[in-house]
Every structure is written in C-alpha cells, then in structure tokens.
C-alpha cells in the first residue's frame, strides 16, 4: 500500500506531463486534472486509513526498493520507511495535496497550461513523499532538492512574469545555501558513522554520547575543534533553516508568493516549508544529544517568530501577510523543537497545515473574486459579496490566533507551555517571544480580515460587478480544511502531546515529559488573553478609529519603513552577496583570465615572438655593405677579445 502512496503521484506527474505537450484542448485539460486529482485523492484516503489504523500501535513499515549507490562501504538504497512521524507527514501532505489538486481545477480554469500545472503539483507531491518516507539521509536529500525543483517550477509557473522568474531563482538559490549545510552534514555523518541509515546513525550517535564507542567525539572542522554531534546537528539545521525559511535564509519565502495561490497553500504553507521541522524531529534522537544546538534552534526559531510577525504587521499584499505568518509559525515549531517538545512541534505542524492551507486557499478565493487584485488596501467590504469565503477565512483566522478549542489553540498553547516549563538555553526568551508573537499574530490576522472583508469597499465601481463567489470545486476543499482547522486539535491532542502520546509515538521521536498541570493560572490563560487583545486592537484601529494607523505611522516613520522594507534583508544581501559575486566574477574574467593569464601566456608569448621576428627582420636589409659592416664589427670584436685574453 505504501508503494502506491508514494508512486501514484509520480504516475500522475508522468501522465499529466505527457499531456502537457499535446495541443491545447479542453478534453486534454480535463483528463489531466481528473487523473492527477483522483490519483492523489486515492493516496490521501489510503494515508488516512494508515494514520487511523496505526494511531495506537506506533508500528514501523520498512520496504527496501533497490540500491541507489553502493560504492565500497557506502551503500544507500531507495526505500520506504513509515513510522508515526512519517504517517503524520503522509496524511498532511496527501490530504492537503489532494484538496489543492481539486481546488486548482477551479482556480486555474482560465489558465492555458493546466496539464503542466497539475503535473508540477503531482511532481511536488511525489518528491515530498520521497522525502518523508526515506530511511536514510541521501533519499531525504533527494526529496529535499526535489521539492526545491518543484517549488522552483511552480513559483515560476507564470514564466512571462519577470518577477515570478526572479522569485523562482531566488527560492532555488537560497534553498541551495541551506542545502549546502545539509550536504556537509551528510558528509560529516558518513565520515563519522560510516553509514547514512537513520537507525544506525542514531544508534551510533547514542553510543558516541555515552562514550561506549570509538567514534571521534570531536572533529576538526574548518580549523575549529567541534563536538561531532554538535557539528552534524548544526549543519543539518542550516539545511532546515533554508527549507523552513528561518531568519537569514527566509528571503525567498515572501517572494515565492509570485506563484499561483494553490501552490502557496500546498508548498509554502502546509508541506514543503515544514520539511525543516520534520528533519529536526526525525533526527530528534540525535538532537537530544546536542543541547547546544537545541539552544541555537530555540534562539533562531523564536527570533524568526517575532521577526516575521513584526513584518507581517505592516504588509499590504494579502498573500505576503500570510507568508510572513507562515514564516513566524515555523519559528514557533522550531523553538518547540529547541526546548525538546518534539511532539508539540509536530502537533503544530499538523494543525498549521490545515488552517494555513485554509487561509491561503481562502485568499486565493478572494483574489479570484476580485480579478487578481492582491492589495488589501484596495479591497474592503467583501463580506457582502463573498460570504462563504468570509466565513471560511474567519475559521482559519480564529484557529491561527488560538481561539479556544480550535486546532491552533491546542498546538500553540502546547508550544508556549513547553517553552515555559523547559529550562534549556533561551527557553525563557522563547516563552516571552511566544507570548508577544501571539498578540502580533492575532493583530495582523484580524487586520487582514477587517481590511479585506469589513468596512466600506474601496474597490472601483466598474470592478464591483465582477465580484463573484468561487465555484463549489474551490469551496468544498475549503470546507474540508475548515473542519480540520476547527477540530483536528481537539481530536488528536491526546495522541500528539497528551495521555496517549507514548503509545502514539513509540520511539520514533525523543519524548520528554513535562508536567503540564503545574502551570500558573496567569500563564495558562495569557495566550488566550493576548489573542483577544490583538483582535480588539485590530478592530479598534481598522474599524473603529480608522485614523489611528496613519497617526502611528506618522509618529514612528523610521520604524514603519524598517518593517515595511522587511528589515532591509533583500537590500543587504544584494550588497554583500549578489553584487560582489558579479563584480568578482567580472574581475576574474577580464583581469585575471584576459589580462594576466592570456596576457603573459599565449597572447604574450605570441606577441613577444612576433616582436622579436620583426626586429630580426629589420636586420635583413639585403644591402651587401650592411652585412659587410656587421662582419667587420664582428671580426674586430673577436680579434680584440682574443688579443686581450692572451695578455
């Protein structure tokens, strides 16, 4: 069955890919859409069964397909490895993917290359499944770069848009920076442990930490002596930072919004960007042995959480706001991991997939309704025109802000409580930031909602008549996601973080037990209170007292500009990486290659030879008296020489 789960999307990709070369016609389009969507739906149903059936027995399925590379002691095979962590990822990936496939049938109805779009979506699903079903780091790397390729293709799907092309390259290259770390981490793992197989690596890591093995406990890396496990975990984390858009490597994610909105929902919210969290959770037995790196992760995650949220406060593009929100929520997942709450991180990954996909697809429904406008300043009052979308997005928003008993409430509270209870490095920093982040999250989410749906409309008269509610093929996936966003927390909390968690996880992650009953009353209710405070502030500023935002901007000009320009990361990177790389490349090319190497090499030699022969030629005048004169000089020179030598 698991073979089918992994390979059906590949079949869908191949069929839709072939169809995309046939000339445009609606039958081909339909065929591609129906084949891919139904294949993924079947896969989603199978994954759900697998998830439900094994919810209490944490069994492991391990299928070896065939050898990928076997060079000496380096042996890696293609395989399917399914444990509880994988099953969670499977259900998240396949269900969101299936819904996005179906939604895209409606969303892309005006596009000319539907089969190509469906093919890319299925390719993405396949590579993502290959990533999460790996039993070794190399197959993980295959999936890791494979989803990068799919993401690149989908961001640049509208290839006539220069901004989309630029964004797709940026996404690929920035991710490659992360992959650079991941690759080095994999090399280090093989160098130290002699294998890339997860289970063997974790076993050897454990024996290394307990001092019962002869593996070097420190390693000289780049001139520094670093603890082996610290080094590996650090390098792998760089990869995770790239894929999960953590601060410093986040710049690609907002730009990735250039892609079609279903892509943003599937790849840049629910699945691919969570691969970094998955990687760290997958390696939690190893990360648990590297507390320094866990502290670093806590710090990076918490910083990203507040950094991205702060930018989200002032953005005006509906998709970018949600993108920064995603970035911020990924930060939450990371600091959960950092404080050792792997279960809570996976729980938030799980619930986040539902409500964030819901928000993105809802935003897509809005954009679809208002003829591709994305600036929320040019919207307003849409609740009258697209009421269903409005209600569904409210569900997504309350789940994101952590409204009691919604999915986000359980998972986010679990993370904040874990940070409060933990005593590892930066855990109090993470706790405080987690609380401030809740306020900001709620504020920017409601700001988006109020500006889009409430108040008087700012849409031009002529466009109002075009506003229409989305077709059912788009709304039904939204409804299913809304159900998930409301109830997935309540139903699954016991398994992820509660009483059944031991049965649920088995030893697929490192489990730590915190006593959640000893949380002070104030701390327990703080996130909820802050969430409502954010809601109130947004209501007050954007519906009640509408001049206030402008006044605040006037008073805090530089700060506003700083946030609006996304902390100037793009400009900074442009100045310290992009421009110097080009300048250096140009210098190498023109100066070193052209001037020095060629100048002293072939060109120089040729010139010298030519020069000498020109001079030699001048001597050959052809006049006898010139030659006779030269002979005379020569003879007199030698005579003089011999006379003086004999003396």
């Amino acid at each position: 069955m698991y073979q089918a789960i992994v390979f059906f999307p590949l079949i869908g990709f191949l069929i839709a890919g072939l169809l995309s070369f046939s000339p445009n016609n609606s039958k081909v389009d339909k065929a591609a859409q129906i084949i891919t969507a139904s294949l993924i739906s079947i896969v989603a149903i199978m994954s759900s069964f697998a998830f439900i059936a094994h919810i209490n027995d944490h069994s492991v399925v391990h299928i070896k397909l065939f050898d990928w590379m076997a060079v000496g002691t380096f042996v890696v095979s293609w395989s399917i490895y399914v444990d509880p962590v994988t099953r969670i990822m499977l259900i998240v990936i396949t269900s969101v993917s299936a819904l996005v496939h179906i939604y895209s049938i409606g969303y892309m109805s005006h596009d000319n290359s539907k089969p190509r779009f469906m093919a890319y979506l299925s390719l993405f699903t396949f590579t993502m499944l290959a990533l999460v079903t790996a039993d070794n780091f190399l197959q993980l790397f295959f999936g890791w770069e494979g989803v990068g390729l799919a993401s690149y293709l989908l961001i640049g799907f509208w290839y006539r848009k220069p901004t989309a092309n630029a964004a797709s390259i940026k996404a690929f290259v920035v991710n490659r920076v992360g992959d650079f770390g991941l690759a080095l981490g994999i090399f280090a793992i093989f160098y130290l442990f002699g294998t890339l197989d997860y289970q063997e690596v974790f076993q050897k890591a454990e024996s290394l930490a307990s001092g019962t093995s002869n593996i070097a406990s420190t390693i000289s890396f780049f001139g520094y002596n670093i603890g082996s496990l610290n080094l590996i975990c650090f390098l792998l984390f760089i990869g995770a930072m790239g894929k999960s858009a953590q601060i410093f490597l986040h710049t690609w994610l907002p730009d990735a919004m250039e892609g079609p909105t279903p892509v943003s929902a599937l790849i840049h919210a629910a699945t691919m960007v969570t691969a970094g969290v998955f990687l760290v959770v997958r390696c939690s037995p190893m990360y648990d042995l590297a507390p320094d790196i866990l502290s670093l992760i806590t710090f990076v995650g918490a910083t990203t959480a507040i950094f991205a949220a702060s930018i989200g406060l002032v953005q005006n593009d509906i998709k970018r706001i949600i993108a920064y929100s995603t970035c911020s929520q990924l930060g939450y997942m990371f600091f959960a991991v950092g404080v050792g709450a792997y279960g809570a991180a996976m729980f938030h990954l799980f619930t986040h997939a539902f409500f964030k996909a819901l928000l993105f697809l809802g935003a897509g429904s809005v954009i679809h309704a208002v003829s591709n406008e994305q600036d929320i300043r040019k919207m307003g009052g849409l609740s009258n025109y697209i009421p269903f979308t409005h209600i569904l997005m409210i569900i997504g928003t309350i789940s994101l802000m952590g409204f009691p008993y919604t999915a986000g409430y359980y998972s986010k509270d679990a993370i904040i409580e874990s940070a409060y209870l933990a005593s590892s490095g930066f855990s109090s920093y993470a706790f405080i930031i987690g609380l401030i982040g809740v306020l900001m999250t709620s504020f920017y989410s409601w700001r988006l909602m109020f500006l889009t749906f409430n108040g008087t409309t700012r849409i031009e008269e002529k466009d109002i008549s075009h506003i229409h509610e989305s077709p059912n093929v788009m709304l039904i996936p939204l409804i299913i996601l809304a159900i998930g966003a409301l109830f997935s927390g309540f139903f699954f909390k016991d398994f992820f973080i509660g009483t059944s968690s031991e049965l649920f996880w088995g030893n697929s992650i490192a489990l730590h037990h915190h006593d959640h009953h000893h949380i002070p009353f104030l701390i327990y209710y703080a996130p909820m209170f802050l969430g409502f405070l954010g809601l109130f502030l947004a209501w007050y500023m954007y519906l009640k007292n509408k001049n206030m935002p402008a006044n605040i901007v006037k008073m805090n000009g530089p700060l506003y500009q700083f946030l609006l320009n996304k902390w100037y990361f793009d400009e900074l990177y442009n100045y310290i990486f992009v421009k110097p790389a080009k300048a250096v490349g140009y210098f190498f090319w023109k100066m070193i290659d052209g001037y020095i190497i060629d100048g002293f090499g072939p060109d120089g030699i040729a010139k010298t030879v030519l020069n000498l022969s020109v001079r030699a030629k001048r001597i050959q005048t052809g006049y006898i008296y010139h030659y006779a004169f030269a002979i005379l000089i020569g003879v007199s020179f030698f005579i003089t020489y011999f006379i003086y030598r004999n003396i």
Partner: protein
C-alpha cells in the same frame, strides 16, 4: 574472445569509414546525403561493436581485458592494447557520442562536408586509441594526434575568431605535452620499457616520480583543464562548431582525467600523494573561480565552457582523494559530464542553427514556441546543477563525500560551488527560455525537429536513468578501482621513509 582483436577493430573501424568517404563523389546530387549516411552508419556500427565488447567484458576481473600486443618499435615499445573497468566506459562514451555529433552536423555544415566528416572519424580513432593504449608511446601518439583533427575542425568550420581560438588551443596543449614527451623518453631510459602494465607494477624512485609526475601533470592540467591554464577552453568552445564542442567537452577533456587516474595515480603514486594538496587547491580555485566567471558571461557557449572547468574541478578533486568513493565519483562525474555538457552544447547548437547567435540577450521566451526544447534543456540544466535524480548528482556527491574525509576546508569550499552552479545555470535558463517572446527574429522559431529529438532525448533519458540507478556503472568501475587503490596504498606504505615514524610516535608521547 582472445582471437578477435576487438579493440583494434573499434579503433580502426572509423578509418575504414574514412576510406569509404574518400571514395564518394560529393559533387553529385546525392553526394552529400551519401556522405552523411555513410559516416553515420560507420559510427553507429562502431557503437554496436563497442557495446558487444561491453557485453563480453568480465565485470569481476579488475585486470586489463581484450589485450593485444604486437611488436612495434622495439622490445620495450610495442603496440599494446587493453581495457579495464576504468577505461571501458570512456570508450563507450566516445562511441556513443559520435553518432550524435554526426547527426548534429547534418544541417549546420555547409562547406567541405566530406573533409569535415573525415576529420571526425579520424578523431574517433585517436580518442578511442587513447583509452585503450597500454604503451606510453602509443598513448602519446593518440593523445597528441587528437589535436590535429580538432585543430582543423575548429580552424576550418569554426566561428569568426576561429584562428585565434585554434592557435590558443594548440599553443596551450602542445606546451603541456612537450613535457610529457620528455618524461616518457626519460621513463624509457630509466626502465627500458614503456609498457604500461609493467610500469604499473614498477616502483620508480620517489625523486624521479616527482619530476615525471610534474611533467605529466603539465599535459593533463592543460587538457582537463585546470586553473590557471584553462583559458583556451572557453575560446575553443565558442568558436568550434556544435559537434566540435560536443566532442571537446564530452571526450577530449576526459582524456586528461583518465590520464590522471591511469598514469599519475597508477605509475607515480608517491608523487601523487605528495602533490595531492596542490591539486586540491587548484581544483577548489577552479570550482569557485570558474563558477563566478560563468555568472557574468553573455555568451551561452562560454558560460557552459566555464561551467565545464568547474565540473572538471570536481573530477580532479575526487581522483586525488585516493578513496574508492572519490575515484569512482570522479569517473562517474566524467561520464555524466560527458553526457550533460555534450547535451548542453547540442542545445545551444539547436538555437544557433536557427538564429545564428550565441548571445544570451538575443534570446528570451523560447518556451512559448519551443516547449520540447525547453523541457530537454531543463533536464540538462538540472543535471549540470547536480540535482539528485540526475547523473550529475551521483558523481559530485561521491566526490564531495570523499573530500570531506580528507579535509573539511576543501569540502566546504568545494560544496559552495554547487550554490554558484545553481545561480549561473538557472540564470542562463531564465534568460533564454523564460519570459515573453518579444524579439522579432524569434517570433516564428520552430520547436525541435525529429532529428533533434533523436539527438536530445536519449541523452535526457540517460541523465535521469543514471541519476536514479548508477549501479550498472559502479559495478563495472569498482573492481579495477579497488585494485588501483590497493596498489597505491601498498606503494605509499613501502615508500614512506622510515624516518617519518618516530616523528609520529613523538607526537603521541606528549
């Protein structure tokens, strides 16, 4: 099999083709067609024969197979051929690429077609000879002989600055090879033979090894090419006709990589291990330097040429790690680069035949009219980037994996090359393929013809196939590589001066 001189057949079959071609009267109506078809049939036949050899090749035997030995100049210098796991795949690569070269020339060569095809067939003979020679003099003959047809191909059928390019190409390669010739003579004086199988077992004195190693290095470094003697390659590629670039990138560069493995490692192991850090440094410079230069190129072929320099940097890096993964990775990288870079040059040729320019800025938005082309080009770009699932990844990964065990500095710098590779490759692709189709002369550009599909898609298939399942290649390469490494390890262990050991002990006593 020993009765049939299959290697000689593969080497000289193209020369039979030359004889046939010279009999065809090219001035008649069907002359051109006859010429093309004869050449194509000959190279295809040669490919089939080489596949037959591969089928009969015993994968478990690490030694030279299909050996032939005839008296030639004297008892020490003979006509001696043979293949092992290291060389056989390079021969297959050569015979495999030749039909594509002939096919790619069908439309683009307008003048002196007969002479052009003859030059290519002679070149094939010489290239295959390089990979089968088991005698240094014979090797040198083939290795240097290859210069002449290549020189003619660029110089006669090349672009505008072809004369400058050929002169640079010739000057660089010949300057390097002179040293190798001197070293070969010296080796003969020293050992009384140029028989490679004998020399592989012979322990040369370390002091001689250093000198000989440097002499061979001079030749191979130019040809592979390593920084700073790489500047001939971009010019040669830019001016060469498409098929010339394909052979240059696909096979000629690999002759030097092969030379490093066979001679530098095999015959001068002590010198090789001594000079390894030097090679690593140059390779790292090549990877980063060439990638940065590729970033600012405006000519498609020049960009791919510089990326070749970077990719060959991985090859030299892998060879001198003396590890199984490193050397096999280097060989796979050579094979993969042979397919991918050849395909990239063919891709450039496709649009060059239509628009007659290689300027990146003159293109843009080709995907609108050429979806098949865009698809094939994408696969090769991803192969060049080294995306997992393409053959480009396998070699690069194995090399980097092994260099990490040698030195983490080198590993970090070399790995950073993959970030730059993504930047320049995707930039090229975006400029040429994506965007709107606004240039006037591109408005009615045609997608791939059947001939071009037959050229590009088998290469695309192999790029992906060996990305997922490189094991058939590894199985062939492995036994001979193991034997090579064991020999090196033994030689280095024996030759390691005894005085070194106390030093190590003293350190551990502290």
């Amino acid at each position: 099999m020993s009765s049939l001189p299959i290697l000689s057949i593969i080497i000289f079959l193209p020369l039979v083709g030359v004889a046939l071609l010279s009999l065809i009267n090219s001035t008649t109506a069907n002359g051109e067609r006859n010429l093309k078809q004869t050449a194509l049939w000959v190279v295809c036949l040669n490919f089939i024969v080489s596949i037959a050899m591969l089928i009969n090749f015993d994968q478990s035997d690490p030694n030279f197979q299909f050996t032939e030995s005839y008296f030639w100049l004297n008892s020490g210098i003979s006509y001696h051929l043979g293949v092992d796991g290291i060389s056989i795949l390079l021969i297959i690569l050569t015979t495999f690429l030749m039909p594509f070269c002939i096919l790619a020339s069908f439309e683009s060569i307008k003048v002196s077609l007969k002479e052009y095809l003859i030059a290519f067939l002679i070149l094939e003979t010489l290239m295959i000879g390089v990979f089968c020679s088991l005698d240094l003099v014979l090797f040198y003959l083939f290795f240097e002989g290859g210069l002449i047809p290549m020189f003619l191909i660029i110089g006669i059928w090349g672009g505008e600055r072809r004369v400058y390019a050929t002169f640079k190409f010739f000057l660089f390669t010949l300057a390097g090879s002179v040293f190798m010739l001197l070293a070969i003579i010296a080796i003969y004086m020293e050992t009384g033979t140029t028989n490679i199988t004998y020399l592989l077992q012979f322990d040369l004195a370390p002091s001689l090894q250093y000198i000989f190693w440097l002499a061979f290095f001079a030749s191979f470094a130019v040809k592979i090419p390593m920084w700073p003697v790489h500047t001939w390659l971009p010019d040669a590629h830019v001016e060469a006709p498409t098929a010339g670039s394909v052979i240059l990138a696909g096979v000629l560069l690999k002759m030097a990589g092969y030379g490093f493995i066979r001679f530098s490692l095999g015959i001068f192991p002590i010198a090789s291990s001594y000079f390894a850090p030097f090679i690593f440094t140059l390779s790292i410079i090549a990877i980063i330097y060439a990638s940065l230069v590729a970033l600012v190129q405006t000519d498609m072929k020049k960009l791919i040429a510089y990326s070749s320099v970077a990719h060959m940097g991985f090859v030299t890096l892998g060879i001198f790690t003396f590890t199984l993964q490193g050397i096999e990775g280097a060989i796979i990288q050579m094979l993969s680069h042979g397919i991918i870079s050849a395909a990239l040059f063919l891709c450039v040729g496709v649009v060059y035949d239509r628009i007659h320019t290689r300027e990146i800025d003159r293109y843009g938005g080709l995907v609108n009219r050429m979806p098949l082309y865009a698809f094939a080009f994408m696969i090769f770009i991803m192969g060049s980037i080294g995306l997992p699932g393409t053959s480009g990844f396998v070699g690069e990964f194995l090399v980097l994996l092994s260099i990490f065990s040698v030195n983490t500095y080198f590993a970090v710098f070399a790995t950073s090359g993959v970030v730059l590779a993504a930047a320049y490759s995707l930039w090229l692709y975006r400029k040429v393929i994506f965007g709107s189709l606004i240039k006037d002369d591109l408005q009615d550009i045609l997608d791939l013809s059947y001939r071009e599909i037959i050229i590009l898609f088998p290469l695309a298939f192999l790029t992906i196939f060996f990305g997922f399942y490189p094991q058939p290649l590894i199985d062939i390469i492995e036994p001979s590589t193991i034997q090579l490494i064991t020999n090196i390890a033994n030689d280095v262990a024996i030759a390691e001066p005894a005085s070194y050991e106390p030093v190590i002990k003293m350190e551990s006593e502290y």
